[in-house]
Symmetry: C2
Subunit: 190 residues, 2 copies
């Protein structure tokens, strides 16, 4: 039984708002790839947009530039080795999905594969910005569909209590991640 549930587009920024490391997947012309990216963030609420940095050397970037679409998958503690591995291998030489036994499912709007076992998924349509892409390796996109695992994201809020293996990963450097913790509420002063 799947725990995936649709997330309303106007709430989809909350899937990235706390700054998780993401896996970017793309597909074009019968080829597919997936890579890790720590530099991703929301860029607008409605319509929801995202920004993500993708190095020129990456095969995923070539695929998403060709297809104009991609997926941001939000990986979890149980997938730390997957994140480290797909973040340090090139998809030009091998199909990472086959090589590492990664299971995928089909998105609602785009051709890129969605990775099983993640906490959330944002399907994105590229908004071409040649200057940003060339100068800063920065890609801007509109979120066209979003889903999340209802065990940890419900009613527009993350709650990881009791699901430590589904906590999001926040990369520091060199395969070292910080794991997201529990919540606190800020109150207005005065």
């Amino acid at each position: 039984m799947t725990h995936r549930r649709p997330v309303p587009l106007e709430k989809s920024y909350r899937l990235l708002n706390h700054g998780p490391t993401v896996l970017v997947s793309a597909a074009h012309g019968g080829q597919r790839n997936i890579m890790a990216a720590a530099w991703a963030m929301p860029l607008d609420f409605q319509p929801p947009k995202v920004a993500v940095v993708l190095d020129k050397s990456t095969w995923t970037r070539q695929l998403l530039e060709a297809s104009g679409t991609f997926v941001l998958n939000v990986p979890v503690v149980a997938q730390a080795d997957i994140v480290q591995t797909v973040g340090n291998t090139s998809g030009k030489e091998l199909d990472k999905f086959a090589a590492y036994g990664l299971e995928t499912f089909t998105g609602e709007q785009v051709d890129a594969p969605l990775l099983e076992g993640c906490a959330a998924w944002l399907e994105c349509r590229l908004l071409p910005e040649p200057h940003n892409q060339g100068q800063y390796d920065l890609f801007v996109a509109e979120v066209v569909s979003a889903q999340a695992d209802e065990r940890v994201f419900r009613d527009g809020h993350w709650d990881f209590a009791g699901h430590d293996q589904l906590r999001t990963l926040h990369h520091v450097a060199g395969g070292h991640f910080l794991v997201i913790g529990d919540g606190i509420d800020g109150k207005m002063i005065g």
Copy 2:
């Protein structure tokens, strides 16, 4: 005694790499302000660059557009009420530093005030990008100086063990934050 130590510029991206919510401070012409921003990320390693989203309505944006400089302060659990408060009040009407008793210190490179009690500080020089600023409220800047609290950031790595009040905040929505947890290492598969 201060726990602030300089962070080498080439390691400064690690202060933001795990996706904390930041406080953006700016000063110009004898005026100063500070606001919260969840949408900030590294954009390059060396020279280090950052990207941050700042709504057109904000006074901080007007100050930093005028001065060309700003600071990204990385706030902590002990400051959750400060983050919520400066994120929901306008500095056009009052000096938030005076109104909320916020202590500051002077940066190495820029005029914007640095907020005492944070875990890290990145002094930034704006790289003007009129299209991004107008179209996406997106600001790009070079990091020209960086500092961190040595109790939680040493040798280029975060380690919050024993310092729960100094853990970084990761905003979800409406003043609800997730607190960063401890570390795990991803290993290469195969």
